[in-house]
């Protein structure tokens, strides 16, 4: 072994963070807009309020450390190849923003368009996949259907043998999809928002929402009352609790969703692979760790932890698809709290309370929407009117029945 040579390993070196990220201000007595929840969505919303709409008297209130919720925990898959027009609209809007985000924020967010494969293992999977590809193409989304050989070409380590329990029959492929570095995305939005004058206030839990005459007037927090012209909820897994503070019931349920990583490995996995039937999804992050997830735990839970049998099952699935992973090691497991809606689509828009805006229900798949929802939600707040992209995602749809049912049709929703 030679010594002293600087290693030239892909991903060994992560880009440096700026030497200043954000101030740590005390809360002011009031703000034009108070955003509850300092995850990716809250931070992006603050950023777009400030840049696009010039609204800078804004606070983001975060009960813990900034972006320490699902933003710190997600498997970072970004894609826009959703089935329904409504969904592909907002996710594709997000994907377009991702494509320019690094430059816009001046932050190395490591957005990497390495493509996503959604595998099909049964004839019905194939039908559903082809359907989604065709729908996507009409919507201008770069979707392709690949047969097993095509899958192998994109990701040579996938076992496409027909001699396995659930052979890979093909996959949908979106080349423009990919991953980004979650923390860097959050910090990019945070520091940009901070520079624009937004107050990022941590360890400040909202404990009540104050209304008067059907209009929101402020919030109570563990750091005192804060007046607000408008209040925007971006609390992800805690949305039900917050909405209840304003007397609003939500059709979402909070579940644990787990993920895990391996040790750092030399590059083996060039893309992102998701499989519904053989339930696992995998990518290799920039540092080199394999990042994996599976389904949610069945029960409601706010514990940021789940059951290990899900992980064992996910491992069997991963090994079925990637025999080469056999000797890799599980290094760390964790969980987030995801707010799952009945149709697996988000709820974004106005509420029965004037000046109170809602963004929730992203379940297992809201990271990819971060810039898109930030932009649309900021628009909704600034204009008191939904952006066309989030217009279909109202709370009322559960009453009318106009669901955007991504359960019925799409593969895993991450």
């Amino acid at each position: 072994m030679t010594t002293g040579n600087p290693p030239a390993r892909p991903g060994a070196d992560l880009p440096d963070h700026p030497s200043f990220l954000w101030r740590n201000p005390d809360p002011a007595p009031s703000y034009d807009v108070v955003i509850v929840g300092g995850g990716g969505h809250g931070l992006a919303t603050a950023y777009y309020l400030a840049t696009v709409h010039g609204i800078t008297n804004v606070a983001v209130l975060e009960k813990g450390w900034l972006a320490g919720g699902n933003m710190a925990r997600n498997t970072t898959i970004i894609r826009s190849n959703y089935l329904w027009d409504e969904s592909s609209g907002i996710y594709e809007h997000a994907l377009k923003l991702w494509e320019g985000l690094e430059e816009e924020l001046g932050y190395p967010i490591l957005f990497d368009q390495r493509g996503v494969l959604n595998l099909a293992h049964s004839l019905q999977d194939v039908r559903d996949s082809v359907r989604r590809v065709n729908a996507n193409r009409l919507n201008g989304i770069d979707a392709e259907w690949l047969d097993a050989d095509g899958v192998k070409e994109v990701c040579p380590i996938i076992n496409v043998s027909s001699d396995v329990r659930y052979p890979v029959l093909g996959a949908t492929y979106q080349p423009r999809a990919g991953i980004a570095k979650h923390d860097y995305v959050a910090w990019g939005f945070a520091s940009a928002a901070d520079r624009l004058g937004v107050d990022l206030i941590q360890h400040c839990e909202v404990t009540g929402i104050e209304t008067s005459g059907g209009r929101v007037t402020g919030v109570n927090t563990t750091r005192g009352r804060i007046g607000a012209g408008k209040v925007a909820l971006c609390a992800s897994g805690h949305s039900s609790e917050l909405a209840a503070m304003a007397g609003i019931e939500l059709p979402v349920q909070s579940h644990p969703l787990q993920a895990l990583v391996s040790e750092l490995l030399e590059p083996v996995h060039p893309t992102v692979v998701m499989s519904n039937a053989v339930h696992v999804y995998v990518s290799q992050a920039h540092k080199g760790e394999l990042v994996m997830g599976a389904g949610i735990d069945s029960y409601n839970g706010y514990g940021q932890r789940g059951s290990f049998h899900i992980i064992e099952r996910q491992m069997s699935a991963a090994l079925e698809l990637f025999p080469i992973f056999s000797r890799a090691h599980l290094l760390r497991t964790w969980a987030g709290i995801v707010d799952v809606s009945p149709d697996a689509s988000p709820i974004i828009g106005l509420t029965p309370v004037d000046g109170l805006y809602l963004n929730c229900g992203w379940g297992t798949g809201g990271f990819k929407a971060t810039p898109g929802v930030g932009d649309c939600f900021a628009h909704t707040i600034a204009n008191d009117k939904p952006h066309p992209y989030n217009e279909p995602f109202t709370l009322e749809r559960f009453t009318t029945g106009a669901l955007v049912d991504e359960h019925g049709a799409a593969a895993v929703a991450h």
Binding site: T3, F20, G68, L138, H329, L330, R332, L403
Partner: protein, 970 residues
């Protein structure tokens, strides 16, 4: 360095069993009982690898799982992408290499077996050091079921790395006795090489047992290499010991710099001297013992620097007697050396002067961090103990207690005493009465004299360059010019993260340790910060001027140490990945060349190709047989539910959209089920067997769901209904006999019934015998042809099938699979739930308003039909499509648009193709689609983009074949 560093005697290794191994291409020899690390050190190899970011040489810091540096990759006897040299047991023929941050996955298949096993116990003891052994023995003597796991190759814990005497015997003898008694006690399971890696609620602990790795090439192939133990314990005793903490100073990462306790372990356990000239730097008394013992072994230990002004006088005297100069109030300010330490710079705390001492090894001890990982995973609260500079358990949990050095108690006799006490408490809590006490032996260990000092890093200001000596520029390491590389005060060696990185993070506005972790990546590497986490926390708190008592460490997450994916996958691999469900006729299908499709967990015959037929040809042939002669299929996978009781009709009226209570005994009705949201969830036939008894069929994939659905409503909403539902899916083999000649075949085999249309009408059933087998025959048709569905006890399924084949021979009877079934039903306009529906489709959308009762006041889903969205005139309807070119098949999943060109995106499609086939009967292709306002569009010409082409289609109704239904009666 080639010198032999194996001491002439000592160590718990087998000196008579040399093991040859290769490291970084060099052939070396170790001894049975070595780890790769001890064998390397015995050969004088300190440098294992270089670091991930700066390429700095790195050696061996520790002797156990906490090792931050010595990452290796194994090529032989098994390829392993990343392990630490300190945890690899040496075996003959081992081939390893140091690795630089990233492991490499071998691409050869892994032939090893991995399995898992459940174990239940009253008391689980994690860690078989003195504390754990005392706990286990105490519990075992009460008759409780005990499991003891320890991750090392032998019991004894830290005793293996010491030479303590207990009651005038070596500690080995004490351990041997305890182990012998444990092993002789019934219902005690003691597992070596077994790491408890996750602790969960309700006494659930997961442990990884490495069962054959130490056997090297002799590992028997049939023995599972690794086993996951799923342990369920009433009470758990956590006796996991403590990890020694380094101190941060300039150039603290050079090979030759090692934790003091590790050096003791190399000495006593492996008979290895870690260096020829050893300096010591400490903040507590424990490193004195290391210094003394090394000196006693004949190693030159000239100096010991103690950051404390107040040093232990007795220990100092012992040092003096062995020629070790103790420097109170001195710290290490820097080191020299390229691939190995050569010199240590030292100076008084805050002082001006600095000296240099030549050393090839520097032992460091900054105190001890109790291994509270598992306790914290259980949700146990931690408290900062300022005297230790570490977090310790702050509370007792009702079913888990922490003892020994894991609880912050570092004195041997106290550890044993605590262990025994915890064992007693645990067995009592588990409902047992204590047996004979475990006597606490008297240990000859040197007591601590002076409180430890908590020092995260050597304070700034101490000069780095020795005064009075000639300035020797340091050998430049790594990427010169990089800001960070200027700082060589490493906090997390594996991540190459330094004090500057930490301070940069706090300077950037970060206050939370969680943020600092993510900004610097400290604690995220293979060692998960076992040596760096506490130090980082200390430095952050110092930088922010905050009290560690007010802060919490980052979250301890499973696994405690890394666990192979393969071990977690276990035996749920290959064919056993998911159960393969088969029918009683499966072997016949296999023997007759069927191609199968997966439907849920079932294997269903998809078609039966003859000679070199492709599927298309086979299906055309099978379809023709069904339409022109006679054919049969295996429909046994259909779900079957027996529903009995006086309220069965009332229940079915709620479950199905249509009326079932009016069905007459002897008759059959098709029914549709919806969810409460009004969307179709399943369909099937309902047979009325008696006034109070029905048999329901469900689709293959939904059988379990429908039974659960029924039970859920029955038990939770309508417990007053007197009904029972029982699955009989596998009790029956179900064979549809289809085609104009089916009546002839049945007549030949069922002499007891009149098979004429008048006597045995459509949608009726009869019990009889077919081929001598008691059978229930139903006149149901999913193909539009004359057809009988024959049900027999599954034991007789094959006999029935073979009899039908034989009797049908004159008519060219043909077995057909699911593909043909799909074509036949589609020709007749019958949708398949799950293929032509997707969870957003109502019965009305399917054109099945006829199956939705207008009379019933309620049934599941009814209320949802009148929601605004369901009343929209432009809902999607199931329709037929005929491609303009009858030879062109439409792709299932194709989208439908209005224009004969594809407009600029986004294009709102009108719907999509759900099913598409080539029909032998029609002599053309045809399809089903869900189409916006579909029924109003019948006759319209629309387009389906296929690749770059557009296929023109005409919208039709859904029935393509025998619209009058003339064929079903034969």
């Amino acid at each position: 360095m080639t010198a032999d560093f194996r001491l002439p005697r000592g160590g718990r290794i087998d000196r008579d069993r040399p093991l040859r191994f290769t490291f970084n291409g060099r052939s070396l020899t170790g001894r049975q009982g070595d780890t790769l690390a001890s064998a390397l050190l015995a050969n004088g190899v300190h440098q294992v690898t270089t670091s991930i970011k700066y390429g700095r040489p790195r050696g061996i810091m520790a002797a156990g799982v906490e090792e931050p540096n010595a990452l290796v990759q194994l090529a032989e006897p098994v390829s392993e992408p990343m392990l630490t040299a300190t945890t690899v047991e040496l075996c003959d023929g081992l081939v390893a290499e140091g690795l630089v941050g990233h492991g490499r996955l071998g691409d050869e298949p892994d032939p090893a077996r991995y399995d898992s096993k459940h174990a239940h116990c009253d008391v689980l003891v994690i860690g078989a050091g003195p504390a754990g052994l005392a706990a286990a023995l105490t519990a075992a003597r009460s008759g409780a079921r005990v499991v003891v796991v320890d991750d090392q190759s032998a019991a004894g814990g830290s005793l293996l790395g010491r030479d303590d005497y207990l009651d005038d015997r070596s500690s080995d003898a004490w351990v041997r006795d305890v182990v012998a008694e444990l092993d002789a006690t019934p219902d005690v399971l003691r597992l070596d090489r077994t790491t408890a890696f996750g602790a969960y609620q309700d006494g659930f602990v997961l442990a990884l047992q490495r069962r054959t790795d130490h056997l090297g090439f002799d590992a028997p192939r049939h023995v599972a290499r690794h086993r996951i133990w799923r342990i369920r314990a009433t009470q758990t005793v956590i006796a996991t010991g403590a990890h020694e903490r380094p101190i941060v100073f300039d150039d603290n990462d050079r090979p030759g710099i090692m934790l003091a306790g590790a050096a003791r372990t190399y000495l006593h356990r492996y008979g290895v001297q870690v260096g020829k000239r050893v300096g010591v730097f400490t903040t507590n008394d424990s490193a004195y013992v290391a210094a003394i013992e090394l000196a006693e072994a004949g190693i030159d230990v000239p100096v010991l620097f103690d950051a404390r002004q107040d040093v232990p006088q007795r220990l100092r005297a012992e040092c003096a007697a062995r020629g070790i100069d103790v420097y109170p109030g001195h710290v290490v300010t820097g080191t020299e050396g390229r691939d190995h330490l050569t010199d240590v710079h030292i100076g008084p705390v805050g002082g001006e002067r600095c000296d240099t001492v030549g050393c090839d090894t520097l032992l460091v001890s900054g105190g001890w961090n109790p291994a509270v990982h598992l306790f914290s995973q259980l949700g146990g609260q931690l408290r900062y103990a300022p005297s230790l500079g570490a977090y310790v358990p702050a509370e007792a949990l009702s079913s888990a207690r922490v003892v020994g050095s894991a609880a912050g108690s570092f004195e041997l006799m106290a550890c044993i005493e605590q262990g025994a006490e915890a064992g007693r408490a645990a067995l009592t809590a588990a409902g047992f009465s204590p047996g004979a006490d475990v006597t606490v032996p008297v240990a000859d260990t040197r007591p601590d004299e002076v409180a430890a000092m908590v020092l995260w890093r050597v304070p700034e200001g101490a000069p780095k360059v020795p005064l009075g000596t000639e300035y020797v520029p340091k050998v430049p390491f790594g990427t010169a010019g990089d800001d960070n590389s200027a700082d060589a005060r490493f906090v997390d060696l594996q991540r190459d993260a330094t004090v500057s990185d930490v301070l940069r993070a706090t300077g950037a506005g970060l206050r939370s340790l969680e943020h600092v972790k993510r900004y610097t990546t400290i604690g995220t590497a293979h060692d998960q910060g076992k040596t760096s986490g506490m130090v980082a926390a200390g430095i952050v708190a110092e930088a922010l001027g905050e009290d560690l008592a007010e802060r919490r460490p980052t979250t301890f997450r499973p696994p405690y140490t890394s666990v192979p994916f393969a071990a977690l996958g276990g035996r749920d691999r290959g064919e056993l990945y998911d159960p393969v469900r088969v029918t009683a006729l499966h072997d016949w299908h296999v023997a007759h060349g069927a191609e199968f499709e997966d439907v849920g967990q079932w294997k269903r015959a998809r078609h039966y190709p003859r000679y070199d037929e492709d599927m298309h040809a086979a299906v055309l042939r099978e379809c023709r047989a069904a339409r022109e002669g006679v054919a049969l299929m295996d429909a046994s996978t259909l779900g079957k539910i027996d529903v009995q009781g006086p309220d069965a009709p009332a229940l079915l009226d709620m479950l199905y959209t249509n009326m079932m209570s009016t069905l007459k005994v002897g008759r059959i009705r098709y029914g549709v089920m919806c969810g409460i949201d009004g969307m179709v969830i399943d369909d099937g036939t309902v047979i009325r067997l008696a006034d109070d008894r029905f048999l329901l069929t469900t689709t293959t994939g939904n059988a379990a769901m429908v039974l659960d659905w029924i039970e859920e409503w029955l038990q939770t909403e309508w417990p007053h209904l007197r009904v029972f539902a029982t699955s009989v899916t596998e009790h029956w083999v179900t064979v549809p006999l289809v085609g104009p000649r089916s009546r002839d075949v049945l007549a030949a085999l069922a002499p007891d019934i009149d098979v004429s249309n008048d006597a045995f009408g459509f949608m009726t059933w009869q019990d009889t015998t077919v081929a001598g087998i008691p059978a229930r025959v139903c006149r149901i048709s999913f193909s539009g042809e004359l057809a009988y569905e024959i049900n027999v006890n599954a034991w007789h399924g094959l006999a029935l099938w073979e009899a039908l084949i034989e009797a049908g021979e004159p008519y060219g009877i043909t077995p057909y699979g699911t593909e043909t079934m799909h074509v036949l039903r589609a020709e007749k306009g019958y949708p398949i739930v799950g293929q032509d529906t997707d969870g957003t489709v109502t019965p009305q959308d399917l054109g099945m308003s006829w199956a939705v009762s207008k009379k019933k006041t309620d049934f599941i889903g009814k209320r949802s039909f009148s929601r605004p969205e369901n009343l929209r005139p432009d809902r999607k309807h199931l329709v037929g499509l005929l491609p303009a070119d009858p030879t062109v098949p439409l792709p299932e999943g194709g989208q439908i648009i209005e224009h004969d060109y594809v407009p600029e995106p986004p294009v709102r499609a009108l719907g999509h193709v759900t099913s598409s086939y080539d029909s032998a009967a029609l002599g053309r292709t045809f399809a089903f689609a869900l189409l916006r306002s579909g029924r109003e569009r019948v006759g319209e010409k629309l387009y389906v983009p296929v690749g770059d082409d557009l296929v023109a289609v005409t919208v039709t109704d859904t029935v393509f074949y025998d619209k009058e239904g003339a064929r079903r009666d034969g």
